[in-house]
């Protein structure tokens, strides 16, 4: 089983929809421990991505991802812009020239993307950032794939790990990003970036795991 170029486009579109639906939710999470803009930032970025997608419809997956990343970098701003931008640019570098992705391709791409976020933001696990959803997701995907799970199951494992990671951020005191200024007062709130990262991986599972979109 592989992920086609069209499936990649479907994922991006599905995530844009998920963000549109969860915009206010993400912003509320950010209001509690940040500056009330994460939903608006992500929405602005992915609406721009939607406008951009047709211009690369006939390009390889690598170009597609890079375009998504560059668009995010130049439209999102804030911390999320460079971080999600880097994530997608790294996905792109790892998939240059490809027209479909095997399970191994996706694993390599995801690894590159997550590493990119870590390199750019220098957050450690437990700092209460998107990294706390992304790293467990990557780990779960690798584990599933190492135990020869099928792609749908591995995607679902990754999404579930991201969700666990996201939920785990709630009691923590933030050490990176804007929430860190709150010190102890950041505890008791779920991290907005970890939440959007969970939604991103859940959208991948929902879109790629089967056609009904009910998996994940």
């Amino acid at each position: 089983m592989t992920i086609s170029r069209d499936a990649v486009v479907d994922w991006i579109k599905a995530f844009a929809d998920v963000i549109a639906v969860n915009k206010d939710y993400l912003t509320e999470l950010d209001a509690a421990i940040g500056d009330a803009d994460h939903g608006a930032n992500m929405h602005r970025g992915f609406q721009a991505v939607l406008t951009k997608l047709p211009t690369v419809a006939d390009k390889d997956i690598g170009t597609l991802f890079k375009t998504v990343g560059m668009t995010l970098v130049s439209t999102v701003g804030g911390a999320a812009g460079p971080l999600y931008g880097t994530f997608f640019i790294q996905l792109g570098s790892a998939t240059t020239g490809k027209l479909e992705l095997t399970m191994a391709d996706w694993q390599a791409a995801l690894e590159a993307g997550v590493n990119g976020v870590v390199m750019r933001g220098k957050a450690n696990p437990g700092d209460k950032t998107m990294v706390d959803a992304l790293i467990p997701a990557l780990g779960a995907f690798k584990a599933a794939s190492a135990s020869n799970a099928a792609l749908p199951a591995a995607l679902r494992d990754a999404a579930q790990a991201a969700e666990q990671g996201m939920l785990a951020t709630t009691p923590w005191v933030a050490r990176k990003g804007r929430a860190s200024y709150l010190g102890e007062r950041s505890a008791g709130h779920q991290d907005p970036g970890a939440t959007s990262s969970h939604l991103l991986l859940k959208a991948a599972a929902d879109t790629w795991a089967d056609n009904s979109g009910n998996v994940g």
């Binding site: 421990i33 803009d37 130049s74 999102v76 911390a79 812009g81 460079p82 804007r178 200024y181 709150l182």
Partner: protein, 334 residues
């Protein structure tokens, strides 16, 4: 949400159109591509270009500080959202007069990451770029393992003093060093009586009771370090000034610039009451206020509250502070 706006998504663009029409003698506003505000006569050949940027909603900072003797360009992001690297890249190119460009960056993850990307892109185009990160907020505990302190009030002072140095045609390394020194000698802390409402959020970022205040807030409507019952101006000034004075520390015999900043919704009459308290506190510690700045210069939309910044002066800082400046937000000598 009660604001003099049309649609939340158009606030920044319409504000920039307003600025473009109001101050064509001072600035040009680029709105076709990535948004930026640039000095009307940029690039000034042989002069270091000084640029800054950050989320909108802090007006007059930074766009109101573009002009002669201060910033060469400012990049406005969405409200409270750092601008993007392409804005900073275009602004960097627009102010590059061959002597290099200094990026003054407030220490927020978003600002730092976006400016880093922009500096990389500009260097790739052959422009010499230095960056100085401002992190003067003593409300935040400093640590190697966190995002560190926020950049707040000292940014305004750094932009003025650094801009004056650049105007004197000093080389990039020197201009950057002066900026770093301002940051090293400046400390700030802020408080809020009310929250502010981000236009696209539509409701206050936090709720405060009628008898509560937040101490140690930033400039993005983020909650502060502690919430406590409302106190008098004298007590509040003490709460802000003490951590500032103790942190550097400021010592008896020091000359300082005292900056009492309004957060956007606090009237001048209250800022002078706070200044009066601050003057007493400084006097009590043997510290001389040699220069001052009082008014809303680095704001948080319509938040009510204030911040205090103290900058330890030396002769060079004082001379550069007094140097002529002609911007929409700060002006003297021209």
């Amino acid at each position: 949400m009660k604001k003099l706006i049309n649609k939340p998504e158009d606030v920044v663009a319409e504000e920039l159109q307003g600025i473009a029409q109001a101050h064509p003698d001072l600035v040009r506003v680029s709105m076709d591509g990535p948004f930026y505000i640039v000095r009307a006569d940029a690039p000034v050949q042989g002069k270091v270009g000084v640029i800054s940027g950050g989320g909108s909603g802090h007006e007059p900072m930074h766009g109101g500080f573009v002009g002669v003797g201060m910033l060469d360009a400012a990049c406005p992001g969405a409200v409270f959202t750092s601008p993007t690297p392409d804005q900073m890249l275009e602004a960097t190119k627009a102010v590059n007069g061959g002597a290099g460009v200094l990026h003054i960056v407030k220490n927020y993850t978003g600002d730092v990451l976006n400016f880093e990307m922009a500096a990389d892109l500009a260097r790739a185009e052959g422009i010499t770029v230095e960056a100085v990160v401002i992190d003067d907020d003593v409300a935040v505990k400093d640590s190697l393992y966190t995002a560190g302190r926020r950049g707040v009030g000292a940014t305004v002072l750094a932009e003025k003093i650094t801009g004056a140095a650049a105007e004197q045609r000093r080389p990039l390394a020197e201009v950057a060093e002066i900026c770093r020194q301002v940051n090293a000698n400046g400390r700030s802390m802020g408080m809020a009586l009310t929250s502010c409402t981000v236009p696209h959020a539509g409701k206050p970022t936090f709720e405060l009771g009628e008898n509560e205040m937040e101490i140690g807030i930033g400039i993005h409507g983020e909650p502060g370090r502690t919430r406590m019952p409302l106190k008098t101006a004298a007590e509040i000034t003490e709460l802000l000034a003490t951590p500032i004075l103790d942190d550097l520390p400021f010592k008896s015999g020091d000359e300082v610039l005292a900056f009492v900043n309004g957060m956007g919704g606090t009237p001048l009459i209250e800022l002078y009451v706070v200044y009066n308290e601050l003057a007493k506190i400084c006097k009590g510690r043997g510290i001389k206020i040699a220069r001052n700045l009082i008014g809303p210069y680095i704001t948080s939309l319509e938040m009510a509250g204030c911040s205090i910044t103290l900058l330890k002066l030396n002769d060079e800082f004082t001379r550069l502070w007094d140097a002529p400046v002609k911007t929409a937000g700060l002006r003297w000598g021209l």
